[in-house]
């Protein structure tokens, strides 16, 4: 059946076939054309789309398989979401060792994008907690992959964008936590130099660190923002889970524009609650403030939005990110959602993993057509010059040249790609000739 499937950025996309899997014992469908696993569609661009081919909807593989309350090892089908893992494990004192900025991602998607969280400097990325998984290849082989079994395919599949076959089940090592609470602080900083000082200073004592940047600040205020840090902590018993709301419709135009943005940013930066020296957060607002508004991505209107997330090596990070922020502020094309964080030095387990040592900047851009794309190309030039990389899970437009520089091992990876699997992203960055 063909239907409109959008990725999280809601950029216009062609209709594609959606084939639903309801059981991990199902064989791959015998359909013509290429296949790509698709679950909750939280990838922003075209890495979770397969125009002209079929999407294997894996959300039906949503069963828990086993959970050891003593060791914190959980085994689940690949379509189980991280929120569902937390629902089962947190009451027993266990929590994902790495958790991205939304709980509405599945284990399969988290592996395929080797997602990271605010504790990368401690725990690495999602792949570091993966003990193993089962991969169904289109030739019918079912392979158990782990750091010791089928190790090359294990490394190719972590961060492998769903291209190496269908992950059907996976086991994870969770981390021990005292409960649902995070104790920490939020403070203002006036410049990127201050941000890097705070990051370095808090890395040892805080499991989670992240910063929000005021993208409309210019001149001496460039790079100002809020620094948030925290640790799992004891707190009151039986918390009430915060209730969410839903953005019910897509507004006819983007609600994010230069006027609303600079006003909002200035208020957000200056509000009294921005500075809290001793805060106790429930894990949901701490990790996932946006999850409280279902379908918040509609705020950018019917044209959708781009997210740009890059990482740049630490030695040039301050200069490069400062230059990026200047260009973004000058362009007035940015949005409220700007996140800056430093990655730790743990080497990723995936061949194609995005996380690597350095500072990572993520920012949303409402889709304003050519001028937005030109700005993103300019940011790419800076990232490439600095020897950094852009996150495929967030991307809808990077050039084949940029991709091949960011992921120099892409050809070695290509030898592990299942011949029946492909994606719009993969074809875009590998099948087009590189311009010289």
């Amino acid at each position: 059946m063909s239907r409109q499937v959008l990725s999280w950025g809601r950029l216009p996309a062609p209709e594609q076939r959606l084939i639903r899997l309801g059981s991990r014992f199902d064989a791959l469908p015998t359909t013509s054309g290429s296949l790509l696993p698709y679950a909750l569609g939280r990838s922003y661009g075209d890495s979770c789309l397969n125009s002209g081919g079929a999407l294997l909807a894996t959300r039906g593989l949503d069963r828990y398989i086993a959970f050891d309350r003593d060791s914190g090892v959980i085994e689940v089908e690949a379509g189980v979401s991280l929120g569902e893992i937390i629902a089962l494990a947190l009451p027993q004192g266990w929590f994902p060792a790495a958790l991205p900025g939304t709980r509405f991602v599945t284990v399969g998607g988290a592996i395929a994008n080797d997602v990271h969280g605010k504790n990368h400097h401690r725990a690495g990325s999602f792949g570091h907690q993966v003990l193993g998984f089962e991969l169904l290849r289109s030739d019918g082989q079912v392979l158990h992959c782990s750091p010791t079994a089928n190790a090359a395919l294990f490394a190719a599949t972590i961060g492998g964008l769903g291209l190496t076959g269908l992950i059907r089940r996976a086991s994870l090592q969770l981390q021990r936590v005292p409960g649902p609470w995070i104790r920490g602080s939020s403070e203002r900083f006036g410049s990127l130099a201050e941000f890097f000082a705070l990051s370095a200073e808090s890395a040892a004592a805080s499991a989670y660190t992240v910063a929000w940047i005021d993208s409309s600040a210019t001149g001496a205020n460039t790079g100002r923002g809020l620094f948030i840090r925290g640790n799992h902590a004891d707190g009151p018993a039986s918390p009430t889970t915060p209730k969410g709301i839903r953005l019910p419709i897509t507004p006819p135009i983007s609600l994010i524009n230069p006027l609303s943005l600079s006003a909002f940013n200035a208020l957000y930066y200056r509000r009294p609650a921005a500075v809290i020296s001793d805060a106790l957060w429930h894990w949901q607002p701490f990790f996932h403030p946006l999850d409280a508004v279902q379908e918040w991505n509609r705020i950018y209107g019917p044209r959708g939005f781009y997210q740009y997330q890059c990482v740049v090596p630490m030695q040039d990070a301050e200069n490069v990110i400062s230059e990026m922020l200047r260009r973004i502020a000058d362009s007035k094309l940015g949005s409220f959602l700007v996140v800056l964080k430093t990655f730790g030095s743990m080497a990723a387990r995936g061949m194609m993993s995005f996380p690597r040592p350095g500072a990572t900047l993520a920012i949303d851009f409402p889709n304003r057509g050519a001028q937005t794309l030109a700005l993103l190309d300019a940011l790419d030039a800076l990232t490439m010059a600095a020897g950094g990389a852009v996150y495929p899970a967030k991307d809808a437009r990077m050039s084949p040249t940029a991709f091949r520089q960011y992921f120099p091992q892409w050809q070695a990876f290509a030898s592990h790609v299942d011949p029946r699997f492909s994606s719009s992203f993969w074809r875009r960055v590998t099948e087009t000739e590189v311009s010289r």
Binding site: R20, G22, R24, F25, Y64, I65, A66
Partner: protein
């Protein structure tokens, strides 16, 4: 804690309902055709809180196998007080109107097997003086339409049968619940275009558990199917025969 037989346990609505029961700590006896799938569902339900999750492989069309099934369920759960009858197929109308053999087979699956199980369960629950039989019928059984009257008439039989059974067993303390889902987004209906009338299995499951707990006789789910079906039932036949429904 309820001790619940779930017939057709790997169907989307049944599995979603089983998860609701599991979260309440109930004990479950899961029946289906595929042993691997049943075992995977049972593992999942135990982790979701089911006091017990047993499995039993059988083909629902084997009408002589029901007494043995009920004996096994009663023995393994230490009694039985609730049953959810959720097995079935979505009939290919075009094929079934071309072949009376296929039409009879569909009746076997979607009507007769459910009625046999209701008979066996009804007599046992009557004897023990309590119990709940929840049967998934369909809004399609409210009026025969050219687009699916083979399926619809099988469900009409189930609806009429459970209505009579309910009257008979009500004074004996046994609840009979006729469940009439509308369009539900399940693998059974994967080939259909989905519109605003479509509900998820999870929504339907929550409504079923609430109806069981409250002792309701008939459940239209989602609720808006009740007014829709009142209109469809009341269209005069002279006009109805000209419609393309």
């Amino acid at each position: 804690m309820r001790r619940i037989l779930i017939m057709g346990a790997s169907s989307a609505i049944a599995e979603a309902t089983a998860r609701e029961f599991a979260a309440l700590g109930d004990a479950l006896f899961l029946v289906g055709r595929n042993a691997d799938r049943l075992a995977a569902i049972a593992d999942d339900l135990r982790l979701r809180g089911a006091a017990q999750a047993e499995t039993w492989v059988m083909d629902a069309r084997e009408l002589s196998a029901y007494p043995a099934l009920l004996d096994a369920a009663t023995q393994r759960l230490g009694g039985l007080d609730t049953a959810l009858i959720a097995h079935g197929t979505l009939t290919d109308q075009v094929a079934a109107q071309a072949s009376s053999e296929l039409m009879l087979a569909e009746f076997q699956t979607n009507a007769l097997s459910q009625m046999v199980l209701c008979t066996e369960l009804g007599n046992r629950f009557e004897a023990q003086g309590h119990g709940c039989i929840a049967v998934i019928s369909s809004v399609a059984g409210d009026r025969g339409r050219q687009s699916n009257y083979v399926y619809g008439s099988a469900k009409a039989a189930v609806t009429a049968f459970t209505s009579g059974l309910r009257q008979r067993l009500h004074p004996k303390g046994v609840q009979v619940l006729t469940i009439k889902p509308g369009f539900v987004d399940t693998p059974m209906t994967a080939a259909f275009k989905k519109g605003p009338l479509w509900a998820t299995p999870a929504t339907v499951a929550k409504a079923i558990v609430k109806a069981v707990q409250r002792g309701k006789p008939v459940l239209y789910t989602p609720w808006f199917w009740w007014p829709i079906m009142q209109i469809i039932k009341n269209i005069p036949e002279a006009m109805f025969r000209k419609l393309k429904l």
